[in-house]
């Protein structure tokens, strides 16, 4: 055995240098593109571990599922209102004149292998996408994460919610079945109800009078290209700002306004979040496989002369439908003009008002609190009773409007008279925010007064001294109830050798 044999692992490693072959390759790349600095920032991005920070991830990953299943659907869907005679495997439609959009939607459900699963997954992913955006937004709102310096990201998020709802409605319309056609009809009427420009706007969107032939192709290109592109762009901006401004965090041991405590992007968070991607897609796949959604073959094709009773939109449009249902039939007819307030107020002004309030909320709150400081530490919702109560009141209003969109289902299911249900919903919608506000405010105040709420009570050890005096000493807290966390270790500044922390997991990043 001579010493110049280099065919050992150690020798190979020595010739490859301290960073190995991969390291050398990346070094080559860095010398040309300067990727090391950005890559280091990316890999050292700290994510707080609190579970409520994963709500946005649900939205992100259901959007990934939406894109993948959506691409599959575009391979088979034909965005055309040309009439064809359906001759497929679903007998009750055999021989009917239907649009190509409807025919291809039924065919991709019945004749394409895995098509129905993909279509149902797409629809469930949409419901979950919008739902998780709302839950995520509620978390941001109640913990005060939207405050300075993150107002811009709040604005982007609100825009994303609107775009998600709009794209959900556009996609819901594409199969051109009886139920979605009714939805388009309502959307057309809502556009018409806008004073002065309504009819022009309606004709502009629909390319003429309803239903026309251009609406399906237009909705299609909006649904599969334009709106998703804007969403992807805004999601990118959302995440860029998240990295740039760093995460907020709940107050706790070792956490200040100047640092952020959590796990780094690589490797801990990346492994966790990839797992979560599969969890989200798994839940959506299970729903797609076992829970039927939107059976368009039963609804049949849309023609303007047909209507089904008991038609509701998808849940995220429910508050609009509910407002339309319960609004009294007020309208203005004079001077040769008609202004249908019963449509204009609930379907145009109400959502406009709600989303505008959402946009300007950070400014409103700053005006009231006179708080112009930077906030990186979050509030417990109970710490800000008025703020939390305002949020709960808004959610109560929206929830009641959502329930009002199913007046007929409630009346039929519980065998109640429909008119009374309608009146009850009118009253509930009006009083629910006023009931929710003081109750929430009071609960917040009560929670503030609680110390160690949710923790186990410790015993008071009472002893008697030799003189006969009784002394009560609280026993120490249970170990489980103490906040257990590793001490934070500082993150190295970009590329500094030999300064890697020994224990992985928790680090502190200086801002």
């Amino acid at each position: 055995m001579s010493s110049d044999v280099v065919n050992t692992k150690r020798a190979k490693r020595q010739t490859a240098g301290p960073y190995g072959k991969v390291g050398n390759a990346i070094n080559e790349l860095d010398e040309r593109l300067g990727v090391a600095k950005g890559g280091r920032t990316f890999m050292d991005k700290i994510f707080p571990d609190h579970w409520s920070f994963m709500l946005g991830e649900i939205a992100l990953y259901s959007f990934v599922v939406l894109v993948i299943t959506g691409i599959f659907l575009t391979l088979y869907y034909i965005p055309s209102t040309d009439l064809v005679t359906y001759h497929g495997s679903y007998l009750p439609l055999d021989g009917q004149r239907v649009t190509e959009a409807f025919s291809s939607s039924v065919n991709l459900s019945f004749a394409v292998r895995g098509g129905l699963l993909m279509r149902q997954m797409h629809h469930w992913a949409c419901d979950i996408f919008v739902g998780s955006i709302v839950v995520h937004m509620a978390r941001i709102f109640f913990t005060g994460a939207f405050r300075k310096p993150r107002e811009l990201n709040w604005t982007i998020g609100t825009t994303l919610l609107i775009l998600a709802i709009v794209n959900g409605f556009l996609g819901y319309s594409l199969p051109d079945d009886l139920v979605s056609g009714t939805g388009i009809r309502i959307a057309y009427s809502i556009i018409l109800s806008i004073p002065l420009v309504g009819s022009y706007l309606g004709f502009w969107v629909f390319g003429g009078n309803f239903p026309g032939t251009t609406v399906i192709p237009r909705f299609y290109i909006l649904h599969v290209l334009i709106v998703p592109l804007i969403i992807i762009g805004l999601v990118g901006a959302h995440l860029f700002l998240l990295v740039r401004q760093k995460h907020t965090q709940f107050p706790g041991k070792g956490r200040t306004e100047k640092n952020v405590v959590g796990t780094p992007m690589f490797p801990v968070f990346m492994a966790k979040t990839t797992g979560f991607l599969f969890v989200v897609s798994g839940v959506i796949a299970l729903l797609g496989a076992f829970a039927q959604i939107n059976p368009i073959w039963q609804f049949g094709p849309y023609t303007a002369s047909r209507i089904s009773y008991a038609v509701q939109p998808d849940w995220y449009m429910g508050f609009l439908d509910g407002a339309l249902r319960i609004w009294p039939s007020w309208s203005f007819h004079s001077f040769g003009y008609t202004i249908p307030f019963e449509v204009l107020i609930p379907a145009v002004l109400l959502p406009g008002l709600l989303f505008n309030i959402a946009y300007v909320w950070p400014a409103i709150e700053r005006r009231f609190t006179k708080d112009n400081a930077l906030h990186n530490l979050l509030d417990r919702p109970s710490d800000r009773p008025k703020h939390t109560a305002a949020g709960v009141a808004t959610l109560a209003l929206l929830g009641m409007l959502f329930i009002a969109s199913s007046t007929d289902v409630i009346a039929n299911f519980f065998r109640l008279p429909l008119n009374e249900v309608l009146w009850a919903m009118r009253i509930l919608v009006i009083i629910s925010p006023f009931v929710a506000y003081p109750i929430t405010w009071k609960i917040c105040k009560e929670v503030q007064a609680l110390h160690g709420g949710g923790k186990r009570k410790t015993a008071n050890v009472v002893t008697r001294t030799a003189l006969g005096e009784y002394v009560a000493t609280p026993a120490p807290k249970y170990v489980d109830d103490e906040h257990q966390e590793l001490d934070a270790t500082p993150v190295p500044r970009f590329i500094v050798e030999g300064d890697e922390p020994e224990s992985s997991g928790v680090r502190v990043a200086d801002r």
Binding site: W51, I128, V283, A289, V409, E420
Partner: protein, 299 residues
């Protein structure tokens, strides 16, 4: 003067053509026009009555026994059942409708208990055979379908007696589903029925205390009876639906509504987007939040 007469005549002719033309077109389109069975096809005006259909008469009395076509046969209840029918009527119905079946004003409200004379056997048979009559709650705005208290033969007997008071139509129908087209039925159902019964046939609340019942569990002949007689709030479809079209609808209801070819998993009770929204939010988002809570830090 003459010119105005001519003008009027011309206008009249034009109006007649415009008015009747579509009727003729509709009647020929709704029937199997050009097919050899046109002769048996009921038209707009006489649907459910024996006017132009294949009629079987009792050779001795000249009374109509049955009429109809290859789509629906209407059978008159046997006159032998009249005595039994009267006895059953007096036991089960007369307390409200009166011993003469002419309805009795309740607390001075005329029409609370309707006059049954001249309604035709199909009407009586429908109400009794679906268990709505004898009514469980006479004050209810709309009678609810129950397990029938009288068996089908007894229902026919009551129909026979009421019909003997003033013979009328339609008689009790028997649809022949072999000749029906389920695809036409689906289209006709969406056009005529879905606006109340919903497109999935589940029924729904309509107004105060009135509702459209579910179609999931009703026999074929009752569908025809309901369409042809228009019970409660339901419109009476006679002129605008031919027997062939009614037969198509019945086939669609009894096959695709009642036994739907329904892939895609658990149907969520046919409640549509309401149930879907609850499942999507509570089950979908809810489970994902729980998983996030499971894998995330909770302090």
């Amino acid at each position: 003067m003459t010119s105005s007469l001519v003008k009027r005549a011309a206008i009249f002719t034009f109006a007649t053509l415009v008015g009747v033309g579509p009727l003729i077109v509709f009647a020929s389109a709704s029937g199997a026009s050009g097919s050899p069975h046109t002769a048996y096809q009921t038209t707009r005006k006489n649907a459910g009555t024996p006017n132009s259909s294949k009629v079987t008469l009792n050779p001795s009395t000249g009374v109509v026994i049955s009429y109809g076509n290859k789509y629906i046969t209407y059978n008159a209840p046997s006159t032998a059942l009249v005595t039994l029918g009267q006895a059953l009527f007096l036991q089960n119905c007369a307390s409200c409708h009166g011993t003469e079946a002419n309805g009795v004003p309740a607390n001075g409200t005329v029409g609370s208990f309707p006059d049954l004379v001249g309604l035709g056997p199909a009407t009586i048979d429908f109400w009794v055979d679906s268990g709505r009559m004898p009514a469980a709650d006479v004050r209810a705005v709309q009678a609810i379908r129950h397990t029938p208290r009288l068996n089908p033969a007894q229902a026919v007997a009551i129909a026979a007696w009421v019909n003997s008071l003033s013979p009328s139509y339609p008689d009790i129908p028997t649809p022949n589903l072999k000749n029906a087209n389920v695809s036409d039925g689906a289209a006709l159902f969406a056009l005529n029925c879905a606006s109340c019964h919903t497109i999935e046939g589940d029924g729904d609340a309509l107004a105060s205390d009135t509702f459209s019942p579910s179609l999931r569990n009703i026999p074929a002949f009752e569908v025809v009876e309901a369409v042809r007689t228009g019970p409660a709030n339901m419109p009476r479809f006679t002129g605008n639906l031919s027997d062939q079209q009614v037969d198509d609808i019945v086939k669609y209801v009894t096959t695709e509504i009642q036994h739907p070819n329904n892939p895609g998993g658990f149907g969520l009770g046919g409640l549509g987007p309401v149930a879907e929204g609850f499942v999507g939010l509570l089950l979908g988002v809810g489970i994902l939040i729980l998983i996030a809570y499971w894998v995330g830090e909770r302090q």
